[in-house]
Symmetry: C2
Subunit: 198 residues, 2 copies
């Protein structure tokens, strides 16, 4: 740090792009899409704000890039049985600004933006729900999956966005434990349906 990058480290387009993406990812997660300005992003990245438009075209496209860049990691890898736990842990990961897991927080803060809402509902939500639905053979499996997903998102919202006590301070394992127990009731095989099924 504190190298004289004023005139030295200039002209590094890859680093500039990365810095912008990083800063944008952090700020979108911290404040949401609306509340983040391109000037803030450029400032945190220590980059001239005109470059943001040179590299990404618009604030929306930058947002989309941040999301697609980060959301892949949420869906891939790991065994299917671990999926609920993995979604949960990504939702519960506390400290925003660390790596790439805070995409969900960014989305939960930004669904006033149409694109963010679509992504949360259709792409990410759709993929999660589809996989969760496989855990049960109940006739309304998809609805049950949606309910589970809604829970995960709701917990993420209350914990990471709103930071409500005591939920925000509870150890991750305790929260996961409670949730998984209730979820298994909704998603168990040979589920004895309550009676309603349409």
């Amino acid at each position: 740090m504190c190298e004289d990058r004023q005139s030295r480290r200039r002209r590094d387009p890859a680093a500039t792009r990365t810095a912008l993406l990083r800063a944008a990812g952090e700020l979108f997660a911290e404040r949401g899409f609306d509340q983040t300005t391109v000037r803030e992003v450029a400032s945190r990245a220590e980059v001239n704000q005109a470059l943001l438009f040179r590299y990404f075209g618009s604030k929306q496209e930058l947002f989309a890039e941040v999301l697609s860049h980060n959301s892949e990691a949420l869906l891939d890898g790991g065994s299917p049985e671990e999926l609920p736990r993995r979604i949960l842990e990504s939702v519960l990961s506390e400290h925003v600004g660390a790596g790439t897991e805070h995409t969900l927080v960014a989305l939960l803060r930004s669904f006033s933006d149409e694109r963010a809402a679509r992504l949360l509902r259709d792409e990410l939500g759709g993929a999660y729900a589809e996989r969760l639905a496989r855990f049960t053979d109940a006739p309304d499996a998809e609805l049950r999956a949606d309910l589970v997903l809604a829970w995960f998102f709701g917990v993420g919202m209350m914990r990471s966005v709103l930071r409500k006590s005591p939920l925000a301070e509870a150890p991750t394992e305790v929260v996961v434990d409670h949730l998984m127990r209730a979820v298994s009731l909704l998603l168990e095989k040979n589920s004895p349906t309550g009676g309603d099924e349409d």
Copy 2:
């Protein structure tokens, strides 16, 4: 309707105030605090936008007034046993713009606003969680209550704000049924704790 109110029905401050509150309530629920402009509110209320500031001082105060005006109905009335179901139904009430039940939707869309977040977390959330916690005697009753509340809010978000299928289209009773069954697992008396309690 269609009376020549241009010059007739003027000079009715009470009606003007009410019209502004109504329009604001609808728009905040439809678009959230950030995405709603004072010009839109005034326009929907068919009122000059300067009057909005005469009557309410600022957009923030108008928002606060809308919320306090509507949120009382959410907490009062009904027996304690019905509380979870009542919260749920207010969260699940589909059509925004009807009466006063869409306060929660407005809040869920607006928590980028600091005041909305505080209200959702501390006042409304706090009151709900406290009451929900009374349903169980588990040592971590408050955490369990938060988890239940997070679920309700999450379901409200997915259903009323994001409108994800099939959750958005599912009959209210079916959703309530599923939720109540899982909730009773978390909030039952003499709950056999999993082992963790801090």
